[in-house]
Amino acid sequence: MSTMRVLGATVALTVALVLQVSVFPHFAWHGVVPNLVLLVVVGAALVRGAEFAMVLGFIAGVLLDLAPPADHVAGRWALAVLVVGYVAGRVAPDVRASAGAVVATVAACSFLGTSVFALSGLVLRDPAVGIPDVLEVVAGAVVFDVLVTPLVLPLVMGLFRRLEPERAVAR
């Protein structure tokens, strides 16, 4: 079961990353695309809790940092997505009840993830972009992530429930 779990998570992350890099730029708004990798981590957190989501978030972030065409300092998305996994996992017991709460969690996590990434960039001076540009991108990212949530999250949460029904929390 463990290999199935690793395989399932790997496939989910790979598909999300490739869609995000190669397919969604065709529908991008000012270059902003839905952060599918982040959505996979949020979905995993809601099903499996903070501990699993943090580890998955770290791996997902490292992939985002290293897969082409990424060029920023490696570790920045790792930190951002890991924080997202932690927060989403901690609020998970309270949001499972309704779809509205799930969407709110996604919006909050998207805001948090992109902001942490942008802040680490400001600290490291890796690209020097202004705060107004950052805010525009963060807002765009939140809107886009919320828009694709109804399509993506049910799939992701279903997948993680399937992979390990005995450890997922019953609804």
Partner: protein, 295 residues
């Protein structure tokens, strides 16, 4: 609720420290970062997947283009041949070239620099704005004869330069990236300057031009071309970059800043050419300076 245990403090600290050390490792070593081999390895794996995905998606995303292109290799070569001829014509007729020939009159080597050999490639991945950097992946790598610090252009003008390559893909830093600086000159007056990106890839993408001679005011609509680097790396000379859209004067330090509108539409980047030395080894047909196809 058994599985919903809060993560142990040790795990949290370990993962945060891992991220932080990764950043330190990558940010502090200037050239040849310790993370580069890992980046390379991940690129080797994801490059072909991205290329495959784009190949599947292209017929759908490119439906409007279908009517003229049909995505066949033959059409692609025809397009690039035309592109190459057009580029050379553009370079020859520009004010830059006329001035340069006048300056170097008698130096017969001058004209040779204007011939490029191009390796054709297509964009297979774009970095999201959320990463605040303007980079793309193209489907040609070291097997096609590419290596870092090569000029990338398309039929409109300068696109960027190659940052790193895997066997089948290469990562390109676009000139509009906030970290990118290109040496440019105003074609009509030969004034030198530096163009830096603003980090925006959409339709209103722009570049800032600061001239070395701060008393010169560039004319509106003047064409800016690359100035060329030593040994043609990372940028070859004479590639059109953009036109002067607006000029701002700062009274305080009496300097000029010009906003440049790039010729390339970075929001719709697809077919590009990478400048390689004539006669390079490649896994695909190389377009030589005279328009012929080489291997």
């Amino acid at each position: 609720m058994a599985s919903q245990k809060t993560p142990s403090r040790g795990l949290v600290v370990a993962l945060v420290l891992a991220s932080a050390s990764l950043m330190t490792l990558d940010a502090t070593t200037d050239d040849g970062s310790a993370v580069d081999p890992v980046r390379q390895a991940v690129g080797e794996v994801f490059g072909p997947i991205e290329a495959g995905t784009t190949a599947v998606v292209r017929p759908i995303s490119g439906v409007p283009e279908w009517f003229r292109g049909r995505d066949s290799m033959r059409d692609e070569i025809d397009d690039l041949e035309a592109e190459n001829a057009e580029l050379r014509a553009k370079v020859r007729t520009s004010g830059f070239d006329r001035n340069r020939l006048a300056e170097y009159d008698g130096l017969t080597a001058a004209a040779e620099d204007l011939g490029y050999a191009l390796v054709p490639a297509r964009v297979i991945g774009l970095g999201p704005s959320q990463s605040f950097s303007a980079t793309v992946t193209i489907d040609a790598g070291s097997r096609a004869g590419l290596h870092p610090d090569m000029t990338v252009l398309n039929n409109d003008g300068l696109v960027g330069r190659i940052l790193r390559v895997t066997r089948t893909t290469a990562t390109v830093l676009l000139i509009v990236d906030a970290d990118s600086t290109v040496g440019g000159r105003v074609g009509e007056t030969m004034d030198l300057g530096f163009l830096s990106g603003q980090g925006e890839t959409s339709d209103d993408a722009g570049l800032d031009l600061r001239l070395v001679d701060q008393s010169v005011v560039p004319a509106r609509d003047a064409t800016v071309v690359t100035w060329g680097s030593d040994g043609d790396a990372p940028y070859v000379a004479g590639v059109p970059i953009g036109r002067v859209a607006e000029v701002y004067s700062s009274l305080r330090d009496s300097s000029q800043r010009a906003a440049i509108e790039p010729f390339v539409d970075f929001a719709a980047l697809d077919l590009v050419g990478v400048v390689v030395p004539s006669g390079s080894e490649s896994d695909r047909a190389v377009i030589e300076a005279d328009g012929s196809l080489g291997r």
